[in-house]
Assembly symmetry: C2
């Protein structure tokens, strides 16, 4: 938590109550959120939360690398916070519960070579998103049936 608040300060953004609430929400639940969902949750804590504020906060956080985005199946943008400190890694997203899992998996070197050989081009970075069913959603639970 401290870590994330410091990033906000380091980027000359102020530690406002709304920003802190957004960080808390995304950290508590490691999953994808739409702008509307974030706003809906903030309404529990604040009497007023303007929609432009929520859009702005999420966009600013993305610009400073504090949160990341992923497209849902219907091409709608959603936000999540990455809890790993490693630079090069990617994410697994559960298509059922929208949870996000950081992965220690990155093939940048191999990709650079491939692109150089095949296209005579330079691979600067890549974006990898893996979608599937997480451990929780994969099998119906015996104890916790609905």
């Amino acid at each position: 938590m401290e870590y994330y608040l410091n990033i906000i300060k380091q980027n000359n953004l102020k530690l406002t109550l709304r920003r802190i609430a957004v960080i808390k929400l995304l950290l508590n639940e490691h999953r994808l959120f739409t702008v509307a969902e974030v706003r809906h949750r903030l309404k529990n804590d604040f009497s007023r939360v303007g929609l432009p504020t929520v859009y702005r906060i999420l966009q600013q956080f993305r610009e400073i690398g504090l949160v990341q985005t992923a497209l849902s199946a219907n091409d709608h943008l959603r936000y999540f916070i990455c809890t790993s400190r490693k630079h090069d890694h990617h994410h697994f997203i559960c298509s059922q519960c929208d949870r996000v899992y950081c992965l220690d998996y990155c093939q940048q070197n191999q990709i650079e070579k491939y692109i150089e050989t095949e296209l005579h081009a330079r691979a600067d970075y890549h974006y990898l998103q893996i979608v599937g069913l997480c451990e929780h959603c994969r099998l119906p639970k015996a104890q916790d049936s609905d």
Copy 2:
């Protein structure tokens, strides 16, 4: 060209002049297009092209797998057509000229094993986008200097 028009028919969509024009445009230039760019180009051929029509055509094409989408650096959705018939492959996108190159590169098997081992989860599919400078844009051309 025939190939793409057949896909349209096979999905119970009609071969309208606007749809054909969109396919032609995306095939002629292998690059990312925004909705506004596509519309601007169509205006050369048609006296009227409603913006909802362009949005609809591109979305429908995406739904039937005829075109694909990619996010630009500022998270704006853009469309391109994939000219390879192979099922599992990904794309290299030039950050300077927006050209798209199909790649014969896919690590689905390796990824499935990794996700099973690390997360006890099931990887159904993944999305990989590689960004860099293509052969044309990598080096300033000697002959064609500006």
